[in-house]
Symmetry: C2
Subunit: 223 residues, 2 copies
DNA sequence: TTAAAATTTTAGATTTGTCTAAAAATATTT
DNA sequence: AAATATTTTTAGACAAATCTAAAATTTTAA
């Protein structure tokens, strides 16, 4: 059962809306996709016919398991392509969305599996968002080591991997504490140190050793 | 002026037909695209309106310069994607066509330019067909050194780069002469020797040095 | 050179995805 | 709780790309 590009766009949008809202409304989909409410209603009928969602007139709707499975497969494709565009073709991370929106509709499991392998089965895309695997499982982004945190993404310091007073005093000297927001701005290959921005203002340098002991979780979702 | 996927498929098909026929007929396009003659007529009107072809009712048609430019851009995309699929994602060369048919319709010059660079600005695709550059210029495949000839493609030996009797006696020992058909079947990295098939039957091994002196041109086109 | 055959075009219908305008249902407010 | 506002759905239309069947044109051949 392949889907059209239009169907896939609706499926993906509904999935993302129901993550935060639970139940989804016609208008919210319409404004996200920048289309009319009437068009959304039309598409809902088709998707209901294909047994992808639970929907009753005037009552709101949400994807069922089949629909969620489809959505995860599309999101997988989108995020793998974004990873390809940034890591391999050296697009800037804010230039990839439009192209990935097209690439995600290419129909070929073989293509996606090969791409996944070529990229080294990445767990997170360049925006820091988790990439579902072929079975639809998403790695939960609880916390991730600062050394593996994507560039220019704002996260929150959520744990420190050691309680040594030497380390804690260094942290306070750099004005870093649990709950601080942090983003990695630059990586220096020579000594593997990184420049990070704390609380959106202060720029400090962090050694590789310190970074290895800081765990961060992503804050605001994008893409 | 972006084209729809359907328009692009017609443009590409007409281009390839007019290369051999000069003038193109409705039926030839219909059978190539496995559609009805009526559909072709409909599309011809649209393409004429967009000033891509010279067409008068019942008289046959062909792409004008604008149309050829469009066709070359599509062929460029198709062949670059095929190169990517085979060289980078390790598809077999006979598995790529269907996927490349989809990928060629992705709209992004930036994407194609980056892909071209990433692949090292290849001149020929895995089938041995020439890849147009960004301005639409195609390298003419006159003859190409055997060491650069694509795998599993049948070519014709068209010149030998030396007249030394040592070399010519070696060639006749291996039953290779001007006009023999030849295809490269395997490359051995250790000594850079290659196994080739001569006249579709005899398999012989050729040293790197000998291969460097053999020039071959591709025989039968495939896409 | 006219009759038959083949090709091409037109006419009218269908599917997909979209739209606007109006009607129906639900929600909000006084 | 009635009036008003908002949301959602329906009705009818349109553009793109396709189809079949019939008409128009060109080609072939008797």
């Amino acid at each position: 059962m392949p889907f059209t590009a239009a169907e896939e766009n609706y499926i993906k949008t509904i999935f993302q809306l129901q993550l935060v809202e639970g139940m989804v409304s016609t208008n919210s989909v319409a404004s996200t996709l920048e289309t009319s409410a009437a068009s959304v209603t039309d598409m809902l009928k088709k998707l209901k016919l294909k047994k992808l969602l639970v929907y009753e007139k005037y009552k709101g709707f949400k994807l069922n398991n089949e629909g969620k499975k489809a959505a995860l497969s599309i999101i997988r494709k989108h995020r793998l392509w974004e990873t390809f565009l940034v890591n391999i073709l050296h697009f800037k991370w804010d230039e990839v969305h439009e192209v990935a929106e097209q690439l995600e509709h290419i129909q070929s499991n073989q293509l996606i599996d090969h791409l996944d392998n070529f990229l080294g089965n990445p767990q997170f895309d360049p925006h820091g968002d988790p990439i579902p695997d072929a079975t639809g499982k998403m790695p939960v982004m609880t916390q991730i080591n600062l050394t593996k945190f994507p560039l220019h993404i704002v996260g929150e310091v959520c744990s420190v991997g050691s309680q040594s007073s030497d380390m804690l005093s260094l942290l306070s000297h750099k004005q870093i504490e649990i709950g601080s927001t942090i983003s990695v701005e630059q990586f220096f290959a020579f000594d593997e140190s990184i420049d990070v921005k704390i609380n959106n203002t202060l720029m400090v340098n962090i050694s590789a050793k310190l970074a290895q002991h800081l765990y961060v979780k992503k804050l605001n979702y994008a893409s």
